[in-house]
């Protein structure tokens, strides 16, 4: 179960083609697998290893280094509440307490209906808008208990479906390099000449 689908294998090959070495596509392909299944399955890891030329252990080593990858199912909505300094100064911890009460779960767990997983997050790069949270990596700023409750209600009622996809999908727009426009990635060992616009004399010393 849960190897990449045929359609996703095509996407995977397009992603791989962007890089001089296929191993570089490991993280994008892990995202693709997570988009497909909501989390990263062992079969997907094995499949990605085959696609990029790595052992399953190597892909696992890479995958587990990064926090966004989940290795067991999480809720449809992953709610990450920031607890780093700026947010903490502006009530991030209190917001987490409220969220735990509102959802009836402790941080790090999932509601029984599988809708929400609540997690502590570290700095979300929106410090001036503290306290912040992300739902499936979509921001909410200066969150109060009231706006949090309203957000949960909206999510539960499906009112934000157009803005916030289910967990696993991050960017919904992919880069496509048109064949007629792209230069094409070449393995570094095959690209040892100065680029066309640089004469050797011009190359920086």
């Amino acid at each position: 179960m849960s190897r990449l689908t045929e359609d996703n294998v095509r996407v995977a090959h397009e992603i791989i083609s962007h890089y001089p070495r296929s191993r570089s596509a490991t993280i994008p392909l892990l995202h693709l697998a997570q988009q497909q299944d909501g989390y990263v399955t062992n079969d997907a890891i094995r499949h990605i290893g085959e696609l990029v030329g790595a052992t399953s252990a190597e892909v696992l080593g890479t995958a587990t280094f990064y926090e966004m990858f989940k290795f067991e199912p999480v809720g449809k909505y992953l709610v990450n509440i920031c607890r780093t300094m700026s947010c903490a100064l502006m009530g991030g911890e209190e917001l987490m307490h409220h969220a735990e009460h509102r959802l009836g779960i402790k941080a790090g767990s999932t509601t029984p209906d599988g809708m929400f997983t609540l997690e502590h997050a570290e700095c979300q790069a929106a410090c001036t808008e503290a306290p912040t949270l992300q739902v499936n990596y979509r921001y909410r700023f200066r969150v109060t208990p009231e706006t949090f409750d309203a957000l949960i209600d909206d999510l539960a009622a499906g009112r934000l479906d157009s803005e916030i996809p289910a967990h696993g999908t991050v960017a919904r727009i992919r880069q496509h390099i048109p064949a007629e426009r792209g230069v094409g990635a070449v393995p570094p060992e095959d690209a040892t000449n100065a680029p066309s616009w640089m004469t050797v004399a011009e190359a920086p010393k």
Binding site: A57, L60, F65
Partner: protein, 796 residues
């Protein structure tokens, strides 16, 4: 002293060695070598810098931070990881300054923070770098009062290796080894930061042929080997340096025992050979030496089968058999097979007995799976030369399976971009993924493949780039040696400067052939001997540490030969399918039970340690030969193994320098000279019509099989993969059976049943079967008389 001379001395002193770098280490001037890392230079200067992650056979990662020392490169003293920086002129290094010591003590305290300190029940205790360096460079106390990390302990990461993650200090040695040295990146760091751990992927164990090395280089007791766990305390071990004879690479080992029992082999770093590494088969094969199944007394055949007897009566019986054989059929009706598993001394004594005392030319150390001995007379390469040649041509078996540490050395050459590998092979090998070009040939056509490849301009350009080394051996046991021999001759004719490294497998095959275990004038080679025996022309067949029924590719021929030989004498460590048929069986002393020397594929002669008492009354092979010689009327003059070593130096071409004194003095053994052998003649390869036999057969060895040493080492025996017939996935349809189903595999000689498997490294139109595996009697199909073996695969 004259003025001129003194001027010469001064002149010599001012010559600047371009590789010398003058540095100050702990206040003393020291001349280091250019490119040396500080940690290495300091060690050479007598200043040990503590470390955990640094290992001088792997790239530095600067991970543990234990080797931080104060270094001043002119900008004031800075703490620098000495494993990451090479020496520069004028550098001032303080390994014991207050700042250096404070850093080292701090790191030890941090490493111990989460270490369980379960040293009393840890195998590493007593030889543990963490323990030792905590003592020598640590603060002596811990201020850490928090909860330590907890993990399930230990977990098996392979059949041989267990991992205790609580003890692990995350030095990256095992993971680096697996990736960088072995090319089996099956263990990895997972998770991050304080929860980082080493793990395998679920259901993909660390099944590397080299896994035992990680246990040896682990600087704590995190990795332990099942065969050694809880068997001894390190301080109870006695050790002697020796050479592994599991294959013919000649890796240096430390043989360790306690209370006269072999307990562990460790790799010893021999720069020209194994760089400290061992394969698991070599490392754990000591179990076979200790086996309860070992022969302990001589056996003679009676009406009731084998019965134990005394050495005197066995010797007398054997001598009588030889005399009777000579009387019945002349000296040449006695044939001697074997010698490749023993020492040079064993082989030399048997060669003397055979050639000089019995007077037969029918002697062979190979078993129909080698090459004509002339390959040893070619321009011989060393392993170092091979792994630094611009081009390495492989016309060889899968080196990862047969000569594992040679595989490591050549892989290193390829991944570090020193060498390009051009490989000729009937199916993909362990080195295929590192090869610059791989040419797959159909068995029997390798000479054509070589000629066509050499004609390609880019190949010619590559071959012109520098030294070329050809690694030559038998890639396929289901064909005669003719195809490979023809290809080798084509290569050496086209590349007369190229050197040749023989890829012959058995531990001392090169030594045995070199000291005389080869056919004399007019004599038969091994296949010839077996054919003669099968035809009833051999009155006495002597098997010296060899099991033709298991090892000769053509099993039927071997069986017929042993049935046809009128008398059989065997010298062996175990009762095997072959020695079971012998009239007299002498129990032989095994590895580590006898001293002597051995010769590796390069011709490097190294010493073998006599570490433990022999099993039962067994004797070294050379002694058996000497006794028989005595009984046959000639004293070989061998009172001790040293006498034999000296006799080899005195008598054998190329071994003049290989004396006990030279061996004593040389850290890495002595390279024997290349003697002259009968040159190889171009064979004719006749490929018959395939008819309905639509798959050409490739049979090759896996590292683990049913061979006697492996079969009697419990830890290794279970690693043998078992038999099956492998075809290319696209050929499955032709057979009409499902993968995993039993199929009939037929050749003109016989039909056997094997389970069907796919492997996309097998070429289309060929079928591959691993040799000597349980449930796969593929030898039944192989015909020693034919150039190749074609088979038909059908559903049952």
């Amino acid at each position: 002293m004259t003025t001129t001379e003194s001027n010469d001395v001064e002149a010599a002193e001012v010559v600047v060695d371009p590789n010398a770098v003058s540095v100050t280490i702990n206040g003393k001037q020291f001349t280091a070598r250019k490119g040396d890392l500080i940690i290495k230079a300091a060690e050479n200067a007598g200043a040990y810098i503590p470390h955990f992650c640094y290992h001088d056979r792997m790239s530095s990662v600067g991970m543990c931070r234990m080797c931080l020392v104060e270094v001043d490169t002119g900008r004031g003293p800075q703490l620098m990881p000495s494993c990451m920086f090479p020496v520069t002129p004028g550098m001032v290094v303080e390994t014991e300054s207050p700042a250096s010591k404070a850093a080292q003590e701090g790191i030890i305290e941090l490493l111990l923070a989460n270490h369980p300190l379960d040293c009393p029940v840890c195998d590493k205790g007593g030889e543990c770098p963490l323990q030792d360096q905590s003592f020598s460079h640590g603060p002596g106390e811990s201020r850490y009062i928090e909860e330590k990390r907890h993990y399930e302990k230990p977990i098996a990461i392979s059949e041989l290796v267990l991992l205790d993650r609580e003890r692990c200090i995350l030095c990256d040695r095992c993971t680096r080894f697996a990736d960088e040295v072995a090319g089996d990146a099956l263990i990895q760091f997972t998770s991050r930061g304080n929860t980082t751990e080493v793990t395998t992927f679920p259901d993909e164990p660390f099944s590397s042929y080299f896994s035992g090395n990680t246990v040896q280089i682990c600087p704590v007791g995190a990795l332990t080997a099942k065969p050694y766990r809880f068997k001894a305390r390190p301080w109870d071990l006695e050790e002697a340096e020796s050479t592994c004879t599991t294959c013919s690479v000649g890796c240096r080992t430390a043989v360790q025992s306690s209370r006269d029992e072999l307990l562990r082999y460790q790799g010893v770093d021999s720069d020209p050979v194994n760089w400290g590494w061992l394969c698991d088969k070599g490392r754990f094969s000591f179990e076979g030496v200790k086996s309860d199944d070992r022969l302990t007394t001589p056996l003679v055949r009676t009406a009731n089968g084998h019965e134990a007897t005394s050495w005197n009566s066995a010797n007398a019986a054997a001598a009588r058999m030889i005399t009777d054989a000579i009387a019945a059929g002349g000296a040449s009706s006695v044939a001697v097979l074997g010698g490749a598993r023993g020492s040079n001394e064993d082989a030399f004594a048997w060669a003397r007995l055979a050639h000089e005392i019995i007077g037969t030319p029918n002697v062979s150390a190979q078993l129909g799976d080698g090459l004509p001995v002339g390959v040893l007379g070619m321009n011989r390469a060393t392993i170092d030369q091979a792994s630094s040649a611009a081009t390495i041509i492989l016309l060889a078996p899968d080196l990862k399976e047969e000569l594992p540490v040679l595989y490591l050395r050549l892989r290193d050459a390829a991944v570090k971009n020193r060498s390009r590998i051009i490989e000729f092979a009937p199916k993909a090998t362990g080195l295929t993924r590192y090869a610059w070009r791989t040419v797959f040939y159909e068995p029997g056509t390798q000479a054509d493949a070589v000629s066509a490849t050499l004609a390609r301009p880019e190949i010619a350009a590559q071959l012109a780039k520098g030294e070329v080394v050809i690694v030559a051996g038998r890639a396929n046991l289901a064909e005669s040696s003719a195809g490979t021999t023809a290809a080798l001759l084509a290569l050496s004719t086209a590349l007369p400067e190229a050197k040749v490294l023989p890829a012959l497998r058995r531990g001392n095959v090169v030594g045995a052939i070199s000291v005389g275990m080869r056919r004399g004038k007019g004599g038969l080679d091994s296949t010839g001997i077996l054919n003669a025996a099968a035809a009833g022309k051999i009155e006495c067949l002597i098997l010296v540490g060899t099991d033709p029924i298991a090892d000769v590719p053509d099993a039927d021929l071997a069986r017929r030969a042993l049935a046809g030989a009128r008398r059989i004498i065997a010298v062996d460590t175990f009762i095997t399918d072959s020695s079971r048929l012998a009239d007299v069986v002498f129990p032989a002393a095994a590895y580590a039970e006898k001293a002597g020397t051995t010769t590796n594929i390069e011709g490097r002669v190294t010493t073998l340690a006599h570490k433990v008492t022999v099993t039962g009354t067994s004797r070294p092979d050379w002694m058996v030969a000497a006794e028989l010689a005595q009984l046959l009327g000639t004293d070989l003059g061998f009172g001790s193994v040293d006498d034999v070593t000296a006799a080899i130096a005195a008598a054998v071409d190329g071994f003049e320098e290989v004396t006990a004194e030279a061996l004593e003095a040389a850290a890495n053994g002595v390279l024997a000279g290349v003697a002259s052998f009968d040159p190889i003649t171009t064979p004719t390869v006749v490929l018959g019509d395939r008819n309905s036999y639509n798959f050409r057969l490739v049979v090759s060895r896996k590292l683990y099989d049913q061979a006697v040493g492996t079969a009697h080492s419990p830890s290794l025996a279970k690693l043998a993969p078992g038999g099956a017939v492998f075809v290319h996935p696209l050929d499955i349809a032709r057979i009409g059976s499902a993968i995993g189903a039993d199929v009939k595999v037929s050749a003109p000689k016989a039909t056997i049943v094997l389970s069907l498997a796919i492997d996309d490294s097998v070429q289309r139109g060929t079928a591959w079967v691993p040799f000597n595996q349980t449930g796969a009697k593929i030898g039944e199909l192989i015909d020693a008389a034919a150039a190749v073996t074609d088979v038909r695969i059908e559903s049952l």
